[in-house]
Structure formats: structure tokens, C-alpha cells
Amino acid sequence: MNGRDRTYWVLALLIRLVIGVTFIVASYHKILHPDAFAQSVYYYHMVPASLLHIFALYLPWLELVAGISLIIGCKAKGAAILTALMTLAFIVGLSTSLARNLDISCGCFGTDEGHSVGMSLLIRDIIMFGALGFFLWIERRKELLRA
């Protein structure tokens, strides 16, 4: 393994750990309080009413499973795809809320009524999305090198 590959390996590990922990922490309150999370989701007006509760139940578990998977490195590529898709959904939700001037709590960590939707959250999610894309690129590169 050369110096550059070692740097990539360390970066991939860091991305996995940081994003994994973020998603696990984000899932905690949402799993405990699906009602509060459903409330936050409702404010975005993006999920159909018939699916609101199913979404509020499923998404936090998806965050938890993907977060654990990223941290332990088992099925990490699948977890990276799932977290990237979730992050993309958050980016779309935040962008449309900003465009519509909705003054709502982001609901990102379940009970953070203090975190209003804003540019800083959008930038955070875009960085996370980029990091996940970079992680997948490193993983693919690793496989190519192995072959």
C-alpha cells in the first residue's frame, strides 16, 4: 500500500466513523419519539399523509442500521448508499423549505427544536453527501487495485 492509498484508507475510515456516529445519534430520539418526528416531517409537507407514520417509523431505524453498519464496516458500501440517499432527501427537503421560507425545526436529531432550517444545515448535508460519494469512490478504487 503506497502513501496515497494509506491516506485514502484513513479518510475512508474517518468518513465511515463520523457519518456512522452522526446517523446513530440522529436516530436515537426519533426512534424513542416517532410522534415528534412525524410532526417535524409533516411541517415539510413532502410526505403524503398516508405514509407519514410509516416514514416516521422506518427512517430512524434506517439511520440506525446504516450508522451501525458504517461503523463496524459490515456492508459499509450499502450503508453508504443508504446514508447518501437519506442525505440527498434531507438536502431536497431543506432546499425546498428554504425556498418556501418555511420557519420550521429541521427535525434532524429528533427533538432539536432550536435547529431551524437554514443554510448551515444545508451546507453540512452537502458536505456529508460529498464525503459519502468520496468514500464509495475509494472503495471502488480499492477493488480495482486488488484486481
Partner: protein, 164 residues
Amino acid sequence: MGERAMKRSFFSRVVGETLLLAVLTLVAMGLSWLVRTPRFPLVAEISDYEMDLDYPVFAAHDCVAFYEAGTHLFIDTRNLASPAPYIPGAFSISLDSFDEDLRQVFDFIYPEDALLLYGDGRLQATAAVAARFEERGYKVEGIMRGGIEAWHKAGGELSGEVSP
């Protein structure tokens, strides 16, 4: 193995992992939903949420946090025929006797107070009291979802008599 085959193999493995995790999540969610009581309804009663457009509806655990921070004034909107548990420090003002109840606590509630209303869990009934408050120039910050029972389950303090 050619590069195209490698790409396809990488892609199919990633898709496989993604689907496996999605199914695993579904199982975990299902088990958790089955085990936890009371069960969170799978279909939303959307009228509960539509009410939010006029008055924000807060989950009970959020209200417990507000209570502990001392940032809100709690209003009990239930029309109680007999003594029932209540949130300590809450003022009892029901729709049926709104004017009379408000007169009794007039010196203790100021228009700038952040009012948080709760009832027996029926949001529409509580929202009707909220509307009366707003007509009188008071600031209603929100309504607690689930009423006094949800408050109790969220670990909120309770007393035996409604004040004043």
C-alpha cells in the same frame, strides 16, 4: 476480469448490500413496533397535524422540557367535573367557562406570557380555547399533543388539584 465486468460486479454487490440493509431495517422496525406499547398508529390522523397550521402542536416530552426550563405558562383546558391530576402551576381555563375562568386568573396571566395549552388529548377542543385566548390578545405558543396522559407517560410532574 475486464473493467466493465468489475464495474458491474461492484455495482451489483453495492445494490445487494443496500437491499439487504433496507430489509433488515424493515424487520427491526417491525419488531420494535410490535413490542412497544402503546403502538404508534401506522396511519396518521391528519386532522391532528392540520391543526398545526394554526397552533404548533408539541410532543409531551418537549412540553416537559419547557416546563422544567420554566419558559411557558401551562393552561389546563379540560372541563373537569371532579378533581383530576393536573400539571403543577397550570391554570384551569375551559371553553365552557372561559370568561369566568380567565377573570379569576386575570392578574396572573400577561399577554406576553408564552401559553402552552393542554387538555384531554382532543386537539380541536384545546385549539378552540387557544382561539379564545388569541381573541383576547394573548400569545398561544402551542398545544400539547396527547393531553395529560401523554404528559404523565413522558415523565411530567403531576399534582392532585387544578390551580388556582
